[in-house]
């Protein structure tokens, strides 16, 4: 009998149980916003990683400039700016900004914040090879200087990794701590590991009094889990509702949709295999029909791509029609088409495209893996075709950078392995342009040049879907997905 009791006691050890701390349940009656963001912090919210996006989405930290829909810089913490020469700019700061810890945001603090980012190791992406030096000129003016001529010097300030934190945030120079050190409408008071964060309204925010008393943020990786918690009324705002789950939303929930500068495109490997033949690339381009993908797989929650860049990005710039070589007969040529399942729509889209290519006479094998294990093979050109999703405006709101990394000989993410001297020359010339309108026209021309090689088939432009409960007002509709919780966001309870 004793033995049996002892055995039964073993599981009782678990009954005490270990649970995650926090959870951020709001005390009843208070008007707090409950938000589920779409990935957990990878580095304790250090702005020098993707966590920077979480900081801006929570409304905890802000950058000097933001972007309009086309990606042009607009004032935020900076009031205005001017270039004094081709590598130097003077930035005038707002004079009414106070960090959450009470320190006023002056030129010294901003320069310190930018210089810390410039000195980060490994370097912050947006400042790579820039050699930025920031100096306080007077209390409200910061001088920025790059090592060489840099038309994007001010645009760079819009990158989330360059959010301005108070001097105390840099106590550990390798890992800035944004808790209590930002300028946004909400102050992070506590970060519970990679699970959740608690924020309180910053009463003296420069943009006015925040509409909610505070924000309880949860970081939920799984899109269906996020949607379930929205449907169950556990949160008010969730980022990234999957298309498959849209139909399950009830009367109490709706979705805020914003067109993104994000293209889903089929990259054809121009360096080897079947698609080294331009005629066969042209055959593939002709075979792809985006409509069934947009209407079927994406259920209309995307736009058929007129090119790589979106119409919003190009603005007034005119698109020229690409001229493709004559299509050759695939005659059963065997290709491998790779995609990743981290974005749930991609495998389905790949299956539809594969069927279209088969109908055109190709023999297609589809390979689906998780991105982390697939990337080395993608970059090594192990596949004939890759269906992927890509931001065309990344940190700087400028399309030329995307064309450089993705379609030039030395580009770091050239999945099509395109190496065309004409494209390279055009990209180099475009990168030196200072007038935003000229840059956009140049980008449109390069796009046509790239499409004329048949190296890539644009399929669709994606949209962001933020799920909210009916009462929620003022959620950020930002094509750069940086603003979710804003000063105006309220749960409407």
């Amino acid at each position: 009998m004793n033995r049996r009791t002892a055995l039964l006691a073993v599981p009782v050890l678990f009954a005490g149980g270990c649970f995650a701390g926090g959870g951020g349940t709001a005390e009843s009656g208070s008007d707090r916003l409950r938000v589920a963001l779409n990935f957990p912090p990878v580095a304790a919210l250090s702005p020098w990683t993707d966590d920077a996006l979480l900081l801006t989405r929570m409304g905890a930290a802000e950058t000097l400039v933001t972007f309009d829909d086309s990606g042009a810089a607009e004032p935020q913490l900076a009031q205005s700016w001017e270039f004094t020469d081709d590598r130097t700019a003077l930035v005038e700061l707002r004079d009414d900004v106070v960090f959450h810890d009470g320190t006023p945001m002056d030129a010294e603090a901003v320069a310190g914040s930018l210089n810390a980012a410039a000195g980060a190791d490994p370097g912050v992406r947006v400042l790579r090879d820039v050699g930025l030096v920031a100096t306080a000129v007077d209390e409200d003016t910061v001088q920025l200087q790059a090592a060489q001529a840099d038309p994007l010097l001010v645009q760079r300030l819009g990158a989330p990794s360059l959010v301005v934190l108070s001097p105390d945030a840099y106590a550990d120079p390798t890992a800035p701590d944004p808790v209590g050190h930002g300028t946004g409408p909400y102050e992070i008071t506590e970060l519970q590991g990679a699970q959740s964060a608690t924020l309180d309204a910053a009463a003296d925010h420069w943009g006015g009094t925040p509409a909610a008393d505070g924000v309880d943020v949860r970081f939920v990786d799984d899109a269906d889990a996020r949607t379930s918690s929205l449907r169950a009324g556990e949160v008010d705002v969730v980022q990234g509702v999957p298309i498959a789950a849209l139909a399950t939303l009830g009367d109490d929930q709706r979705v805020v949709t914003t067109a993104l500068p994000r293209v889903t495109a089929l990259q054809l490997n121009t360096a080897g295999g079947v698609f080294a033949d331009a005629g066969l690339r042209a055959a593939a381009v002709a075979a792809v029909d985006a409509e069934p993908v947009v209407d079927g797989v994406f259920e209309g929650q995307a736009d058929v791509a007129p090119g790589l860049l979106t119409d919003d990005t190009l603005g007034a710039a005119a698109r020229s029609t690409p001229t493709l070589p004559t299509a050759a007969d695939p005659a059963g040529a065997s290709i491998r088409l790779a995609t990743y399942d981290d974005r749930p729509e991609l495998p389905e889209a790949a299956a539809v495209l594969a069927e279209q290519l088969r109908a055109a006479g190709f023999t297609v094998e589809v390979v689906v893996q998780t991105y982390a294990t697939l990337e080395p093979d993608l970059l090594a050109g192990a596949f004939d075709a890759v269906l992927g999703s890509r931001l065309t405006l990344l940190d700087t709101g400028d399309p030329v950078g995307y064309l450089q990394t993705d379609y030039t000989c030395d580009g770091g993410y050239n999945l099509a392995r395109l190496c065309d001297p004409d494209v390279d020359a055009a990209v180099t010339a475009a990168a030196a342009l200072t007038d935003p309108r000229e840059r956009r026209q140049a980008a449109a021309d390069i796009e046509a040049q790239v499409l004329s090689t048949g190296a890539v088939v644009p399929v669709l432009h994606e949209q962001s879907r933020t799920g909210v409960t009916q009462g929620v007002q003022g959620v950020g509709e930002d094509p750069f997905e940086r603003q979710v919780v804003t000063v105006a966001t309220t749960a409407g309870r």
């Binding site: 009954a15 649970f19 995650a20 990878v42 993707d50 992406r125």
Partner: protein
């Protein structure tokens, strides 16, 4: 009775310290070995860890040479796996688990809380599984006590059906019904006991199915022993007989429960994701994909240590439950008589399955019609259409060939290896099985994919690496009972050779229950294959294989239940057939 004469478990006099020495060395070797294996992940996979770490920190952007160099210098990456692992072990001795390469925070802050959470979930789930399985077995126990039990009873069939339920489908279903639908329980998070209910059910119910089938088998086997008849004729109360039968049966499943506990600790990543539980499975998965070696090393070494500890505990528990009888010769295990009725039921279920499969085989599984996306069942599509408008019935039929074929093959392989190891292995201590059982599937998967390349064969290898373990432990448990039985001792005393004893006395007792166990695990093999597909292992991307189909379509469960129902029901029916099919010869 001559207990000490020949039983293999007889103790030879040797100083205790000397006897323990190889065992301690083995445990240490296992820990160092797994740490080394994990430390070698970047070299095995051939992927530059600087790149995967950079990718984990920044999703977009180009991983150019300058950025990679910067990461490499910052991380101070070891030049070879041995150096890295020695560094890790050195730090471990001083109680330091190191710093994560990705987050640059102490590993201990991530891994220990996650371990606590996983222990809570897995422990409760194991307990629930045991209790549920026990409840399912009560009717069989009472019938056996009355001498009326034929075959495995109801528990066997229900157990077979439950065991085939895919955990992730069950998880999504539970959330949809109990959390979103009725609002009874929270959907996600893990901040209090109310968050424990649904994940524990999702993990515990399928496990209970397997345990119930094992219990049913054990009860049926024990019910055939002569003492049951003797006790009944002697007028011993029904409940007393049932309790005695139950105790014997529980002895068989307790080691399985402990295996389950350890196996769930690091391998529940999918269920953890559905409920957003910050457990060890998810952390191990993320860290393994990001090649965050310090985190994976810490997680795996902890898991393996727990595995070895609990594995040893399993052997001990079996001994405790059976008491001194195990070293004596008090048992008379006999092969149970096959029940006739269950076989007829199995035949009926199998017929339904075969008819559906044949009907599906006559149709085209690849024809897409996006306009028919998720179409409800109709004359044109009797089982409805999948997200690409493909006919679900056709895919069900064509998928069956791959799913059932592969699963049976894997189960057979696991059976052969499991029985061989269980019978021939040195048996009564924690060992390789416990180490493999504790390893998260993603680690095994990455290692196998690295060595053998992606593909279906590699997936089979990865699944086989662990599939034999429960069978080996089951075999070991049953063999221990058989070796302690009168006829075995008598045979040895009579001078019978090792092979003779094995063939004539051990296999006939051990064989049928373990074969039944292997059959119950057939659907698991299919699901395990699908679970590795994100690593590029397993059936091809457009294959209609059931596990793959389930993994791809579970998100549509609420909108188009028929898409999920076909393969899920297929697996459940397969489970019922497997549970009812009785390999024991008719007598």
């Amino acid at each position: 009775m001559t207990v000490a004469l020949g039983a293999p478990t007889a103790r030879r006099p040797a100083p205790a310290v000397l006897r323990r020495l190889p065992r301690v060395a083995g445990v240490l070797g296992a820990l160092v070995g797994t740490a080394l294996l994990v430390g070698a992940l970047p070299w095995l996979s051939g992927v530059d860890p600087a790149r995967s770490v950079l990718r984990a920190r920044e999703e977009e952007g180009a991983p150019d040479a300058a950025a990679l160099d910067a990461v490499r210098t910052q991380l101070d990456l070891p030049t070879n796996p041995v150096a890295g692992t020695l560094g890790f072990l050195g730090r471990l001795l001083t109680g330091d688990l190191g710093t994560s390469w990705v987050s640059r925070t102490p590993v201990v802050d991530t891994v220990l809380p996650a371990l606590g959470i996983s222990l809570t979930v897995a422990g409760t789930a194991s307990l629930v599984a045991l209790v549920l399985a026990g409840l399912l077995t009560v009717p069989a126990l009472l019938r056996a006590a009355d001498g009326r039990l034929r075959g495995g009873g109801v528990g066997a069939a229900v157990g077979g059906a439950l065991s085939a339920l895919p955990e992730f489908v069950l998880a999504v279903l539970l959330v949809a019904v109990f959390a979103v639908g009725w609002g009874l329980l929270p959907t996600t998070g893990f901040t209090g006991p109310e968050h424990l209910v649904l994940p524990v059910l999702a993990l515990g119910v399928p496990a209970a199915g397997v345990l119930a089938r094992l219990l049913a088998g054990a009860v049926a086997a024990t019910a055939g022993e002569s003492w049951v008849g003797t006790w009944r004729s002697a007028g011993v109360r029904r409940t007393t007989v049932a309790a005695a039968l139950g105790r014997r049966a529980v002895g068989v499943v307790v080691p399985q429960v402990l295996l389950l506990l350890v196996g769930t600790l690091g391998a529940a990543a999918v269920v953890e994701a559905v409920f957003d539980i910050p457990g060890l499975g998810g952390i191990a998965l993320g860290a393994a994909l990001a090649q965050d070696v310090p985190v994976v090393q810490a997680a795996v070494v902890l898991l393996v240590a727990i595995g070895l500890l609990v594995g040893g505990g399993g052997v001990l528990a079996h001994r405790l439950l059976l008491g001194p009888a195990l070293t004596g010769s008090g048992f008379t295990p006999e092969t149970a008589a096959a029940g006739r009725r269950p076989q007829r039921a199995a035949l009926a279920v199998a017929t339904v399955l075969v008819v559906a499969v044949v009907a599906g085989l006559l149709r085209d599984p690849d024809a897409q019609d996006v306009g028919q996306r998720l179409a409800a069942p109709s004359w044109a599509h009797p089982f409805g259409a999948d997200p690409l408008g493909r006919d679900v019935l056709a895919r069900f039929g064509h998928g069956a060939l791959v799913s059932v074929g592969l699963a049976v093959l894997l189960a057979a392989l696991a059976l052969v290896v499991g029985v061989a190891v269980g019978l021939l292995g040195c048996g009564d201590r924690a060992g390789v099985a416990d180490v493999l059982n504790a390893l998260p599937a993603v680690v095994t998967g990455i290692v196998v994919a690295a060595v053998a390349g992606p593909g279906l064969l590699s997936a089979c290898v990865a699944v086989s690496l662990v599939a034999w373990i429960p069978l080996a432990v089951h075999t070991r448990t049953l063999a221990a009972e058989a070796r302690a039985s009168g006829f075995h001792v008598a045979a040895l005393t009579g001078g019978a050779g090792r092979w003779h004893v094995l063939r004539r006395h051990l296999l006939p007792v051990v064989g049928p229950p373990v074969v039944r166990h292997a059959l119950v695990r057939v659907p698991h093999a299919s699901l395990a294959l699908a679970g590795l597909s994100f690593l590029g292992l397993g059936a091809g991307a457009e294959s209609p294989e059931w596990g793959r189909a389930l993994a791809e379509t579970t998100g549509y469960l609420e909108r188009a239940p028929w898409v999920v129902a076909a393969p899920a029901l297929g697996l459940v029916l397969l489970g019922v057939v497997a549970a009812l099919a009785d390999p024991a010869p008719e007598r």
